[in-house]
């Protein structure tokens, strides 16, 4: 029971008043920057590093953990209330969450996100404490061919989940895939589709595209609709808290999201986006009222939010056990460790156990604190939607622009924000779903790079793709996702339940 002894020791460290104060400052800061699109926890921690240099290591690492979790929480608040996903991992949350907010159910949406994040974060943190060494062994056994199979699974499930019309969904997806080709090709070092503009060499920033399509595109639609606007945003209808049915519909998605998020987050090339896509697709499949999907289904918020937070804890597995930073924030946390002369890696658990367990314990504290701070504030947050529409959308526009420019001060970035905003408007106007564009931009480059790595390692032999048992299992799941509904129809003679259109 070494783990529990170590963990309770860590909790003692984290519960010291001064460390609680650090955690509090961290979650507040994190929530604030999470709301602003583009400016994420990575930048905030980077700005704080030189200031915290003289502080006690435990205190500042606890604050960083608070910023990390707080940032994610703030990101979902902006997604739900303003349809402005500030982080790529909260894009899916905007789909159902914003629909709920418009229908006066912003309170329950925020609550299920907060409680789901808490549940998933807690379970995943326990997972981190108990099974980190085992998980990491499995995670590094994933080769490029296995990652490619995982991307195939993501493509097949996700393309089935978005939009009622397959053609429209695929059109959007391919726009995203084409945008994903822009920039320097990692394997060959050659520029593609950059038209001699140096700012395009690094490709299209996911948050810029997401903010433009969601926030700017929507603002343009509202303006274009003018007085014809039929939709009325209801700030609050009914209770701001979750009712019995909300709870009943949320707890399973929370758990399923956790199960998807933690292991994928722990994979060195997994990330937090893919589990949110998979969770959304899965919840849509399993939902008893599939026609609610696209109109504000609470499952579509609960699952992806849980997956997102579980993945965040998962990212810490390779960071703490191997010293592998697999996300921007993890890279900064690594710099934070190094600032105190600590090297995360296989030796950290042995050489600095109090610090590691203090950090893990502080994740519990940060999660709990976020819940306590934010649940009472839900009522206040949803009042945001009561702001008159011209002001609200004016504010969103300022917010989106500031966030994008803050993260990358470049005129080309601003131009992209506007052009993609126009694209978002056109897509909306002609009823094409917008989420697959972002999905294509995220998954396309990942899938391409993994495929090419696999083929380069095998010196061009394509059979390598079908030799690993992990890859074969993932292909089997993809086949099930594609042909499952058809089989269902052939066996029962009934059409499988299909969800409604989203956005």
């Amino acid at each position: 029971m070494d783990t529990f002894a170590a963990l309770s020791q860590g909790l003692m460290v984290a519960l010291q008043p001064i460390n609680l104060l650090f955690a509090f400052v961290g979650v507040m800061l994190g929530t604030a920057v999470g709301v602003l699109p583009g400016i994420g926890p990575a930048l905030t921690v980077a700005l704080l590093l030189p200031i915290t240099f003289k502080l006690d290591p435990a205190g500042s690492l606890i604050m960083f953990a608070g910023i990390y979790y707080g940032g994610m929480y703030g990101g979902s608040t902006a997604s739900i209330l303003l349809n402005t996903p500030g982080e790529s991992s909260s894009i899916v949350t905007a789909l159902e969450g914003n629909k709920m907010a418009r229908a006066g159910r912003g309170g329950p949406a925020l609550a299920t996100a907060a409680i789901g994040s808490f549940v998933a974060g807690t379970i995943a943190t326990i997972g981190l404490a108990l099974v980190a060494p085992t998980v990491v062994d499995i995670a590094i056994s994933f080769g490029p061919e296995d990652y490619f199979a995982l991307m195939v699974l993501a493509f097949t499930t996700v393309s089935a989940a978005f939009g009622s019309s397959v053609t429209r969904g695929l059109t959007s997806l391919f726009i995203g895939l084409s945008l994903g080709l822009i920039g320097i090709d990692l394997q060959s070092g050659q520029a593609r589709l950059s038209f001699g503009i140096p700012d395009l060499l690094d490709g299209v920033e996911v948050t810029t595209l997401a903010v433009a399509l969601f926030a700017i595109g929507e603002t343009l639609s509202v303006v274009a609709a003018g007085s014809r606007a039929d939709e009325i945003i209801e700030p609050v209808k009914g209770s701001v808290f979750m009712n019995r049915e909300d709870w009943k519909r949320s707890w399973k998605p929370w758990l399923r999201g956790t199960v998807l998020g933690f292991p994928i987050g722990a994979m060195p090339a997994g990330g937090a986006e893919i589990p949110t896509f998979l969770s959304y697709a899965l919840e849509k499949r399993l939902c008893r009222k599939p026609d609610e999907f696209g109109n504000g289904a609470i499952e579509g918020v609960a699952g992806p939010e849980a997956a997102n937070n579980a993945a965040a804890a998962g990212v810490l597995v390779p960071l703490l056990t191997l010293g592998l930073p697999t996300s921007a924030t993890a890279a900064i946390m690594l710099a934070g460790f190094q600032q105190y002369g600590l090297n995360p890696g296989p030796l950290l658990f042995v050489s600095n156990p109090d610090l590691v367990w203090g950090l893990i314990a502080s994740l519990f504290i940060a999660n709990g604190m976020l819940l306590i701070l934010n649940l009472p504030l839900v009522g206040l947050w949803v009042r945001l939607l009561a702001i008159p529409r011209p002001w609200l959308y004016g504010g969103i526009l300022v917010f989106a622009t500031l966030g994008t420019l803050g993260a990358n001060p470049s005129l080309v970035e601003l131009g992209m924000l506007l052009i993609f905003g126009l694209l978002g408007y056109v897509l909306r106007r002609y009823d094409y779903p917008i989420a697959p564009v972002v999905v294509g931009l995220i998954l396309g480059p990942l899938a391409e790079q993994q495929l090419r790595r696999a083929l380069a390692i095998s010196v061009g032999d394509p059979t390598v793709l079908f030799q690993s048992p992990i890859a074969l299992a993932l292909y089997a799941l993809s086949a099930l996702a594609l042909f499952g509904p058809l089989l269902f129809f052939l066996i029962t003679g009934r059409k499988a339940p299909v969800g409604g259109d989203e956005d």
């Binding site: 921690v45 590093l49 592998l324 930073p325 600032q339 090297n343 990358n408």
Partner: protein, 321 residues
């Protein structure tokens, strides 16, 4: 560079500083890190900010991140926007040399005023502990037998890791275009593929492999320094193993184009004092960075040499023409 020479240079810098009549402190400094927060350049800029302020060498120092395209976006902005401004500094490094060539950047390092090289890291080659490759000689033999069968995991194509792999192939008489180089976007991802045995060898800066090597999960075959490194005493250099390759991934600081000689001198002195301070040395030790300070004409000469060598190797591996 050997210690005596470095000592002499430092002494020279010190004498120059004590003879200088300019005030000890410069005003508000803006340090541009041409990369996203968290990377080496960003950390270097923030380390400078910290020491310049704590040592009262600058009244106030600010770091600004201008990420993109291997630093060339930040470089372009610096060249075009800060002409003649003595209060702006740009952090950069060897990676920029390659990026300028492969990206066909319209601006290059000859358009700024180089001040000093600050720190450096050396490249190392690692294999998983259970790999049949036991030494550099085994790797050389494998490469000579069939270069395509040896897959290398490293950073992005055209970066320091790729250039080093190309230089090694060239040094042992293997066609550099045949090097089977697999680019990974982050250190974490490539390390995972090496540990998982997905690739034959990994190539990266020594600090990325250090912890795993100490834990016995990776074996280091060689390092790219001129002499053995204190943090990896039992790892031979490439040269010791008969592979004539020496490369340092350095980081430097430059001032804006078009500043006066007087301004250049003052900035060089300020940076010289920063490098000598205990705070800077402590910080380097903490981060595991090697002090490879070099300033004035010696740095300019080294820079010119690196640019020529890089141009030719990038041509050899087919990334530049």
């Amino acid at each position: 560079m050997n210690h005596m020479l470095r000592g002499a240079l430092l002494a020279a810098a010190f004498t120059a500083a004590s003879l200088g009549t300019a005030s000890a402190q410069v005003g508000d400094l803006k340090i541009i890190a041409p990369a996203a927060p968290g990377g080496g350049w960003d950390q270097t800029a923030r380390a400078m900010q910290q020491v310049l302020q704590s040592e009262k060498l600058a009244a106030n120092a600010q770091v600004m991140n201008v990420p993109g395209a291997g630093g060339t976006i930040g470089l372009a902005q610096f060249v075009n926007g800060s002409k003649g401004d003595p209060n702006v500094l740009l952090v950069g490094g060897y990676v920029m040399v390659g990026a300028i060539i492969t990206n066909k950047s319209p601006v290059n390092l000859s358009m700024v005023t180089p001040i000093a090289r600050l720190t450096g890291e050396y490249e190392a080659i690692a294999v998983p502990a259970n790999s049949p490759l036991k030494s550099m000689a085994d790797l050389v033999a494998a490469l000579k037998a069939d270069p395509q069968k040896v897959s290398w995991a490293g950073g992005s194509a055209g970066g320091t890791d790729h250039i080093t792999a190309g230089l090694i192939a060239k040094a042992i008489g293997v066609d550099p275009t045949k090097v089977n180089y697999i680019a990974f976007s982050g250190g974490g991802e490539s390390l995972a593929s090496i540990l998982g045995g997905k690739v034959t060898v990994g190539i990266s800066s020594l600090s990325e492999f250090d912890a795993q090597a100490k834990a016995g999960k990776l074996r280091l075959l060689g390092v790219s320094s001129a002499e053995r490194l204190p943090e990896a005493k039992d790892v031979p250099t490439f040269k010791e193993s008969g592979v004539d390759v020496e490369i340092q991934n350095w980081r430097s600081v430059s001032a804006a184009p078009g500043i006066t000689e007087e301004q250049k001198k003052q900035l060089t002195e300020t940076i010289g004092k920063m490098v000598q301070s205990k705070a800077w040395k402590d910080l380097l030790a903490q981060k595991g960075w090697v002090d490879t300070y070099l300033s004035g004409p010696a740095f300019a000469e080294q820079l010119a040499k690196d640019v020529t060598a890089t141009q030719s190797v990038l041509k050899d591996i087919g990334l530049a023409n």
